[in-house]
């Protein structure tokens, strides 16, 4: 459910629909514009307490908890915000149309009188206020989505830490990983603000320490001495020894690893919006580590195509000697699961 709403919020049509500035020679002089409807006609969709299935008994027990109730309330809140948002968007349409009409007139008359300038300025100011209101609502909605996401994350950790150790089926695990990536918070900065560390391709700060329960990529030594970048969750960090304790995300492995900081790389905490912050994406042709689809391992890959929207994924080519040209066919990987290549253990 998070998916659907999220997609609507990051509506790509936005820029196209914005009011035109008088400086722009109006090729398209039709004064009215349409924006995508945010509302769904159906009633509120039901939401699961976890983005992946567990046994019914566990899920029922979890559904009884207060978190589950909080979850349902959040969904209601989200739905209300989206409704409100749509209403304010509807309200703003006539104002934006007015701006377009006036600016078209100015362009056509090729004359800017003082009164019309003042009028235009006032209209712009009003529209800016309106739009800021929209942005606030939008941020509120996104915030709610992240709250839902966090509650579900907490519930999962709770389930994991409770004595009831239940292995998630692989299919479910993959679904969860996909869902986590799709609902990864989108970074929305103010104008001119630079994306922070761990947003998209932006590297973490030198001394950054991943938090407990965050997902990380880490280099572990397999039974046959080979090194593998695997997806894992942080259990603890010991600042004295600079060592992490991590759990393999694949519960079938049932392994806990103690690894030095060098062997642990945090995953992005936010998505970068390619339309606004293309600088926070890996450029085409760069070499990265990417999670091979439907697995829990990272492999070396080349970026083949960048996402153009916040909801899209990278297209990468994995290094694979079994293919004639040395690369796999193009595969899609979410921003969350593409990380910088790290020089693997210079010293033992």
């Amino acid at each position: 459910m998070g998916k659907g709403k999220d997609k609507n919020l990051g509506s790509p049509k936005r820029s196209v629909d914005s009011p035109k500035s008088p400086k722009m020679r109006g090729r398209d002089s039709s004064p009215s514009f349409r924006r995508e409807q945010l509302l769904r006609s159906e009633p509120l969709p039901p939401i699961n307490v976890t983005p992946y299935p567990l046994s019914t008994s566990t899920e029922m027990a979890m559904a009884m908890s207060s978190e589950a109730q909080a979850l349902q309330e959040r969904v209601k809140v989200l739905s209300d915000i989206v409704r409100e948002l749509q209403k304010s968007r509807d309200d703003n349409i006539p104002h934006m149309n007015n701006i377009n009409v006036l600016s078209d007139k100015i362009v056509n008359e090729e004359k800017l009188t003082a009164s019309s300038r003042n009028k235009l300025k006032m209209m712009y100011e009003r529209c800016i206020t309106d739009t800021e209101k929209e942005v606030q609502l939008m941020k509120k909605a996104l915030h709610t989505v992240y709250q839902i996401r966090n509650i579900r994350h907490d519930l999962r950790i709770q389930a994991k830490n409770s004595g009831n150790k239940e292995t998630i089926r692989r299919g479910a695990l993959m679904k969860m990983l996909l869902n986590c990536a799709q609902t990864l918070p989108l970074w929305i900065g103010n104008f001119g603000e630079k994306p922070p560390p761990l947003c998209g391709a932006v590297a973490p700060e030198q001394n950054y320490v991943a938090k407990v329960n965050d997902m990380v990529a880490c280099l572990v030594r397999g039974s046959e001495g080979e090194d593998n970048w695997i997806l894992a969750e942080v259990v603890s960090y010991n600042p004295a020894t600079n060592k992490y304790e991590v759990d393999d995300i694949d519960e079938e492995q049932k392994e806990r690893h103690t690894l030095s900081r060098r062997r642990v790389y945090p995953l992005p905490l936010m998505r970068a919006n390619p339309e606004v912050n293309p600088e926070a994406l890996y450029p085409k042709g760069s070499i990265v580590m990417a999670l091979y689809p439907q697995t829990t391992c990272f492999y070396k890959a080349v970026i083949n195509r960048l996402p153009t929207l916040a909801t899209e994924e990278y297209e990468v080519l994995f290094e694979d000697p079994t293919y004639a040209d040395g690369y796999s066919p193009p595969l899609m990987v979410a921003q969350r699961y593409v990380i910088q290549i790290k020089d693997v253990s210079k010293k033992k």
Binding site: P53, R170, L173, M174, T295
Partner: protein
């Protein structure tokens, strides 16, 4: 044709004598062949004197038999049918005195005189000079008479039969008569394929007498039925499908024509494979030869040699067989009717010369159409109005209950008929809808209804007796003490989203392993096809591209298999591959080889491309493959699984305990070192792609029923404490409350039902059966 006394088969003079005796008793069994009567063609032998030298049996007997046969023909008393003649002969033999019977059996029994004696049949040292007539039996040879070949006494040959009852002797003698008839057939037959089968059956029956075992035909041919649904079922469905809107009189006529058609087919003599070879592809003709052999062994020869188990042609063969013979059969039947038209009464003439050709053309269309519903194993006929009236009462009650039933896909089976088979139900359904629409344009209103009902899973349930799985399911429902309306109500509850606000909706993602894949298939994101290469037929470019794609998928996913090996097998015309197609590219597949005669299929490669794994595709692929095999009546899977594949195959119901005898598969299946042989037996009553959904639904129904019961009783008993006190077990019925909850104890007492209900039920079933039998 010179006499060769040293024939390496035993039998000697005895066989010759008997063969001659049969011939002398009337016409030879082969004389009637000349009549070319398809309805009652007897055993064949086109003229005497084939190449005898190469045969295992001695030549002298053939000479005698052939001569005698000629004599019999001259007598020309060919009124009685061969079957009757053979029965007469058997009756005569049964009437013989016991010592005569033993003498006869001695001819076919191995000597037990001493351990080293290799003699496998007693030979009369003084063979009668003239062929004996059976009605004037020769006096029996004394038990002390020595054998011409091993010189042990006659009694030594039959020592094992001394204590046998007369019935047992008669049974063996009946086989002896069949053996002797077959012997003649072997010599008379010119067609090499047929001859081979006759001599196989001959040797088979001889062995049965030697070992005193009941005659059977062995596994290499497979066991009947060879295809499902049978021709009988298909043609019956055809009548309902096409003519159910006709008036009673016309419907009756069509049923009669269908009956006649089936009868003709049951008694029709098939074209020999060699006659056919001229106008078919090698692939087709090898498939035909298999069916021809089966037909001889299970259907044709047993009509005459009744010691072999007999099966009706129309009951054991299906669409593939009918497709192969239909054109020839039609031509011969129509030619025959035309030739005889002057002798027919006018109304029969109308029936045979006007209605029958039309009937055949319509049938032809359904036989060769790939989407015809009449071959659907779950086809439920829409009864015509006059039959319907008798069944309405019943049908109206049952129509709501079938919701959870299995849906079957139409898979046109058969060898060499195609290179691509579409398995995705969406497409099948579309094709059927189009078909029904097409029919509607022709002004066919009522039919559409039956069409739709056969294609959708929630079809109306007018009953049919010939549908096994369906009727057994129905029986089960009736034998339980739950009312159908109660079950229907529960089903309605669990499918109504408003009533199910509980966990099932909340956790809809808690789905079966293949649920996601099925959803994608319904949406059309993925498709399943069975494809294969062919050397004799044109293979479409699409199929070739897919095969190349599959070869790539297999080589990448199975790095330990040599690439050229994979290529060789994927493109081998005997191997086929179930392909999983997404965006018109194969992303997975199962390459298999079907050994129809052995009754199993070898799974050769099985893989899904790595970035599409863990989505339930593998499970869904295997389920499609299982359904495909149920359609083709091959019910065993075997595979050599490497260590990484064992887990997958276990999840798909495979086990290391192989249900097949080693002799069935050894030498057929490719053997891999370091791999584990695993097998899976299929149940033809299960539609595997619907299996999890059906089981889940059943579970939900049971759960609901338990809840209902609980809410009815509302009494809480304190738990049992006796186990805490050290009691190990107590009788179930002593648990407080268990009887009130409806527990009935072991099913020693039959399910309790009111006698009136039982009575009505039996009456209903009889009347239903009668109506159906009368009208088919």
């Amino acid at each position: 044709m010179a006499s060769r006394e040293s024939g390496n088969l035993s039998g000697g003079g005895g066989v010759a004598a008997t063969a001659a005796a049969i011939a002398a008793a009337g016409t030879s069994p082969h004389q009637q062949q000349q009549q070319h009567n398809p309805a009652q063609a007897p055993m064949t032998a086109a003229g005497a004197g084939g190449s005898v030298g190469s045969l295992p049996a001695g030549g002298s007997q053939a000479t005698v038999a052939a001569a005698a046969a000629g004599g019999g023909a001259a007598e020309g008393a060919g009124r009685v049918s061969n079957v009757q003649r053979i029965q007469q002969k058997k009756a005569q033999v049964r009437a013989w005195p016991r010592d005569k019977k033993l003498e006869k059996l001695a001819i076919y029994s191995a000597c037990k005189g001493d351990e080293n004696c290799k003699c496998n049949g007693w030979k009369n040292p003084t063979p009668p000079t003239h062929p004996a007539r059976p009605d004037t039996p020769q006096p029996a040879a004394p038990p002390s008479q020595p054998c011409r070949s091993c010189s042990h006494m006659l009694s030594k040959h039959v020592s094992h039969l001394e204590s046998a009852s007369d019935d047992d002797l008669d049974r063996l003698l009946s086989i002896v008569v069949d053996v002797e008839n077959l012997f003649i057939c072997v010599h008379r037959e010119e067609d090499p394929d047929t001859k081979q089968v006759y001599s196989y059956l001959f040797r088979r029956l001889r062995k049965c007498i030697l070992q005193v075992t009941p005659p059977t035909v062995e596994v290499p041919l497979g066991t009947p039925p060879f295809e499902r649904p049978s021709i009988f079922k298909g043609v019956t469905n055809f009548v309902f499908h096409k003519f159910n809107r006709l008036q009673q009189k016309d419907f009756q006529m069509m049923s009669d024509l269908a009956k006649m058609f089936l009868h003709c087919l049951n008694h029709w003599r098939l074209e020999t494979p060699s006659a056919r070879r001229a106008h078919t592809t090698p692939e087709e003709s090898s498939a035909y030869k298999v069916n021809y052999t089966r037909w001889l062994c299970f259907s044709y020869v047993p009509q005459l040699c009744d010691s072999l188990p007999h099966h009706e042609t129309t009951a054991i063969f299906g669409r593939t067989f009918l497709r192969a013979v239909f054109h020839t059969l039609r031509k011969q039947l129509l030619d025959k009717f035309r030739a005889e038209k002057d002798k027919m009464p006018p109304e029969k003439k109308l029936l045979l010369l006007n209605h029958f050709p039309r009937f055949l053309s319509m049938l032809e269309e359904e036989v060769y159409s790939n989407s015809s519903p009449i071959w659907d194993a779950d086809y439920r006929p829409q009864l015509p109005p006059h039959l319907h009236a008798q069944a309405t009462e019943r049908a109206s009650g049952g129509s709501g209950v079938t919701r959870g039933e299995f849906e079957r896909l139409t898979v046109p089976p058969g060898e060499g008929q195609y290179t691509t088979v579409n398995l995705t139900p969406a497409a099948t359904r579309r094709a059927r809808l189009e078909e029904s629409r097409g029919e509607k344009r022709e002004g066919d209103d009522v039919c559409e209804n039956s069409n739709n009902s056969s294609s959708s899973s929630s079809s109306s349930s007018t009953t049919t007796t010939s549908n096994n799985s369906n009727s057994s399911k129905r029986m089960k429902l009736e034998s339980e003490d739950l009312g159908e309306d109660m079950v229907a109500e529960v089903v309605a509850t669990i499918t109504d989203p408003r009533k199910m606000v509980g966990p099932e909706v909340l956790f809809s993602e808690n789905a079966a392993r293949d649920e996601a894949a099925k959803l994608e298939e319904r949406k059309g994101n993925i498709e399943f096809h069975v494809i294969g290469n062919s050397l004799t037929q044109k293979v479409s470019k699409q199929t070739m591209l897919w095969l190349i794609g599959l070869q790539n998928v297999f080589s990448h996913q199975l790095p330990r298999m040599p690439k050229d090996y994979i290529t060789r097998l994927v493109f081998d015309p005997k191997h086929r591959t179930l392909a999983l197609i997404k965006d018109n590219r194969p992303i997975g597949g199962i390459c298999f080889r079907m050994f129809a005669t052995q009754g199993f299929t070898e799974i050769v490669f099985c893989a899904v491309t790595s970035n599409e794994q863990v989505k339930g595709y593998g499970t869904h692929m295997m389920n499609h493959l299982k359904d495909y095999h149920v359609k083709n009546n091959v019910l065993h899977f075997l595979t050599f699984a490497d260590e990484f594949a064992i887990g997958y195959f276990k999840k798909q119901g495979f086990s290391k305990d192989i249900q097949l005898a080693r002799s069935v598969y050894q030498g057929y299946i490719k053997d891999y070192e370091g791999a584990t042989l695993m097998g899976c037996e299929l149940n033809p009553n299960i539609v595997y792609t619907e299996f999890t959904a059906v089981i889940r639904r059943q579970k939900e129904i049971i759960k609901k029923l338990i809840e209902r019961k609980q809410s009815e009783i509302r009494k809480v008993h304190p738990g049992l404490t006796c186990f805490r006190d050290g009691v190990r077990e107590i009788p179930v019925e002593s648990i407080p409350g268990i009887r009130e909850a409806g527990w009935k104890g072991p099913p020693a007492s039959k399910p309790v039902r009111s006698p009136s209900q039982e009575h009505q039920e039996a009456e209903y079933l009889t009347s239903m059966l009668k109506t159906l039998l009368c009208n088919i």
